[in-house]
Symmetry: C2
Subunit: 603 residues, 2 copies
């Protein structure tokens, strides 16, 4: 499988883009014409740079409004085309994308379009160039790949084939079964983009909201598998118009893009397990079963220690070789790390995940070229394998223990005897994301750990809307809400825009709250109006509401059950939540979150 | 006319919002329930604060999913409603908004909904409360104000009326003529929001993209006039869900919101010139006829002086009392100001506009409560009236001179004799805007100077998309593109995110370029690939293309004519463009702008 990417996907000048694409390991690029026009380098210099970088120049694009026109317009088309063919020869390129006519089409007739493509094909052939004809989803007359193929078939010219673009086809929901009617050698090019399912005009959707494969809601594995099955052997090329990726760092975005194709290769190989392709699956069994630990890092972690002690955690002692302590409650393990943390306020620096097959995750991360996290370990210590998530959080994975504590817990000495607690483990870990990294983070967790996107929501806070997307382990006990702060708030904060938080699970959160209060704990205070509303909305007794009010507990219900929870104050850039899920409640207390954001703002 | 605003329109806690709304001069507010739930203050404290601030509490909102339900659900509705009515009594409020059912409706029957509203009305009346029923644009069964009114009419209860919301009605394009069928006293409340015309699902459109009146594309003057005409005498209340206004400074946004209602009052008074209302028109004749001057401010303006000299401007000398010089070419006047500019790189600090009736603009700005710009003037000097635009640019206005130089030019001494030039005046002034101020800026120019939004576009640059919205004077010669930089680029720059620029008009831009080159001027260099593309796209001779290439001129065409232009390098935060419009060309060289952005990035 050869990989390619349109230069429009990333930021910078054309030369910057070529460097970034080569660095990320792409085999080739599509030259997006406006990038070339704005480049200071001549076509020959661009060709030479690409050659030095080992990049093939796969597709020149786009040539617009070439068919369905009257004779006068066709003459101008041929004049323009010939100039572009000469330019392509200077670039050493032999394939050009022609889009179905949007602007100048006046003739809605397959025979006319086929004839005009044939004439263009004749002209192109003289330059050793081939034409890939693509139906834009908003083409004036031709907006369906099946019609584009009918026209190409009718043109019946060796230099004229089709380009299939996943966005233009999947956005319109066109039946994919006709792909198998197209001979593989007549599919001249394939462009791939994912996208969220949005209800908006298809042009704006396409120009601003495309995503890399694995980040949206299109079934790209099925789409691509059908094309492979049809015998297409050309590059898999990304063409992603996205307002964010246009401005993020080109090298980082190119690597992110390349990772999405590795994910897609795996997904397609699973759709076509028996086909004779060179596609490589990723190792299986990556999905985590539970959270192994969370790590809070700070120059001084004592405020966190006091809080954990109040909440019923047990101090399990100090690490043998590092300034690190361990606190546990049930299966919840909190590592407090004062190493290399000069000047740091407490922040969530790492999470550990328990997996069934640590080696599979390791291989998977390698294949995805994810940056690794490094921890120095000594001979007697457990090795920790980890990766750096796009937001900078280190994510480690370890083989799940059959029962009892994980092996690494033994590295801590001088612990206290474990205290009884109603805390059972970690329910979820909320990670605040930079707005421009949340797609990359989604791919990191879905491709690296086989998590899936479970739900998305918006939480109105006093400083704007916080958007939240929850990633969950299928069949596992890992939930990671990724939160994005509103931009003005984010711009004001040097570190994370919103505090991160760990929600600990409990089977009796009222008991946790009560015994914590006995030890001097003061929860984040919820306002009285909130409890008046709970009394109005839910069928609770007055005594039940009073108990919630007394303990500053939040309350929510869905069809399956209820959610009781309370928050600690924020220390540095982190706070804790304690939650009890009654019945099959599946949410995260969305009704309480806005009240919490306001209460935190008041602090 | 009484003014009101929903607390959801602005940022902060409920108490913050009340202070901001009072400060902006609103008469009352709608209490958006989630704001109250999150507030630390009791309902009694909120009522007392509002009373002290002189704000009436006009509407409690929203109460959802109250009708079209089965008996069991209705019991829960009545339980919930009674709790809210008690709460409203504590707030001293007597009007509640009930939205048409979105979530729980199972019965699609006017009779059932009318009966249930009647029962709710009975309950409400016992608390001295009235119910305003509103059809949401996405209501499950009731999504049209005409049906909402049929149901209210059928309910026939003194405590049950309708709420008319401009967004829910205009977004759906419903016929407005039925508004006149509703007796004014049965219109219990009116909510106003503008919006851009977007092709997207109406719920997302409503929740994220509403605007204040005058900033979108709805005909709010007609809508509101019909309601006034129907006899409605309650408050005009803003309900604007907008992702930006939720996070901007509450006081500033509240003033901006209040300004939009003053604009709307004027617009409605013009639709209803003969109606016996208390509506006040704004003074007429505010639209500017031309740009009087542009002012560049810097600690040292000599680099700009050198540039203007090369480009054929004449030094008209130094101001009598200030460290300010004047440069002119044709009707183009550039003021270079070194006063109070310590440490400043050159930036566009002010523009002056010539208007037919300076006093009208002055009165208009006063009515709109626009912040004033202040310049010290001495007895012998012309007074300069100005306002501060939302981006900080000072905008002055002056009576247009009958002919010849404006009077203030005489305040400059020791000028050189005017040189012949092909420069004729100012074509347009591009103002880079903070992303969160562009709506406020639009209202500033449309309400203050009667400009109108002419066109909007997106320009792809190497660091992301620049969005641009052009404001023009109807029938005048003033064009102000407002540009917004992509956020990562904007965050990197301390000052303006993109350089501002002044485009000077010429009737022979090639002559300007050539003579400037003779004086040592070096234009912003356009790449060779750009000219190859021009040769391919436009029917120009080889010699014509070579002339463009030689002079680094940009070229564009539309149906009416052509555009030739070149750019200077950027000095500090400003650059200049020189343009020639051939025929009726109406654009701004959108094809050249991406190439220019890349060339500027290369600098």
């Amino acid at each position: 499988m050869r990989t390619s990417i349109a230069t429009v996907c990333i930021s910078g000048t054309l030369a910057d883009k070529l460097h970034a694409c080569a660095d990320a390991g792409f085999d080739g690029v599509e030259i997006f014409e406006p990038d070339l026009l704005a480049a200071a380098e001549s076509p020959e210099e661009i060709a030479a740079l690409a050659a030095r970088l080992g990049l093939s120049l796969d597709l020149y694009q786009p040539m617009r409004d070439v068919e369905g026109v009257d004779d006068e317009a066709l003459a101008a088309v041929l004049h323009r085309a010939e100039a572009k063919f000469r330019l392509m020869r200077r670039l050493g390129m032999d394939l050009v994308l022609c889009c179905s006519n949007v602007g100048t089409a006046t003739i809605d007739d397959d025979a006319v379009s086929a004839d005009q493509l044939r004439r263009l094909g004749d002209l192109a052939a003289g330059y050793g160039i081939r034409i890939a004809f693509e139906a834009l989803a908003w083409g004036r007359f031709i907006d369906d790949y099946r019609r584009a193929w009918r026209i190409v078939e009718r043109a019946d010219h060796p230099a004229v084939g089709v380009c299939l673009d996943s966005f233009h086809i999947l956005s319109r929901g066109h039946d994919l079964s006709a792909i198998s009617d197209i001979p593989g050698e007549k599919i001249f090019f394939v462009q791939l983009a994912d996208a969220p399912r949005l209800s908006m005009d298809v042009l704006s959707w396409s120009r601003h909201h495309r995503l890399f494969p694995g980040e949206g809601e299109f079934d790209l594995a099925d789409f691509t598998a059908r094309i492979v099955d049809a015998g297409y052997t050309g590059p898999w090329s990304l063409e992603v118009f996205n307002d964010t990726f246009r401005q993020t760092d080109a090298r980082r975005t190119a690597r992110h893009a390349r990772r999405s194709l590795r994910w897609l290769e795996d997904a397609v190989s699973r759709v076509l397990p028996d086909a004779p392709t060179d596609l490589q699956m990723l190792p299986d069994s990556a999905a985590p079963s539970s959270v192994d630990f969370v790590e809070v890092k700070a120059e001084d972690t004592s405020a966190i220690e006091e809080l954990l002690a109040q909440l019923g955690f047990t101090s399990r002692g100090r690490h043998r070789t590092k300034p690190v302590t361990l606190w546990t409650a049930g299966e919840a393990r909190v590592v407090l790390n004062e190493q290399h943390a000069r000047g740091w306020e407490p922040r969530l620096a790492a999470i550990g995940l328990e997996v069934d097959d640590a080696e599979a995750v390791d291989l998977r991360m390698g294949e995805l070229r994810v940056p690794r996290a490094y921890r120095r370990t000594y001979a007697t210590e457990e090795r920790l394998d980890g990766a750096v998530a796009p937001d900078g959080t280190e994510v480690y994975w370890a083989q799940a223990a059959d029962e009892g504590d994980p092996v690494w817990v033994r590295e801590f000495d001088h612990g206290e005897p474990e205290r009884a607690t109603a805390i059972t483990g970690v329910d979820h870990v909320s990670l605040s994301q930079p707005w421009d990294a949340v797609e990359e983070a989604t791919l990191f967790y879905t491709a690296g750990f086989a998590l899936r996107v479970d739900s998305a929501t918006e939480v109105p806070g006093p400083r704007g809307l916080v958007t939240s997307r929850v990633l969950v382990a299928p069949g596992g006990d890992v939930r990671l809400p990724l939160n994005v702060a509103p931009p003005i708030l984010a711009a004001e904060r040097a570190g994370v825009a919103l505090p991160q938080h760990v929600a600990f699970a409990s089977d009796d959160v009222r008991a946790v709250a009560r015994s914590a209060r006995d030890r001097g704990f003061a929860p984040l205070e919820m306002p009285g109006n909130y409890y008046d509303d709970i009394a109005a909305r839910f069928p609770l007794t007055e005594a039940q509401v009073e108990e919630l009010r007394d303990l500053h507990l939040g309350y929510d219900r869905d069809a399956a059950g209820a959610y009781l929870h309370f928050y600690t104050r924020t220390i540095g850039e982190v706070f804790f939540e304690f939650v009890e899920r009654v019945g099959g409640y599946a949410g995260y207390g969305a009704g309480t979150a806005p009240v919490r954001l306001t209460a935190q703002g008041r602090r």
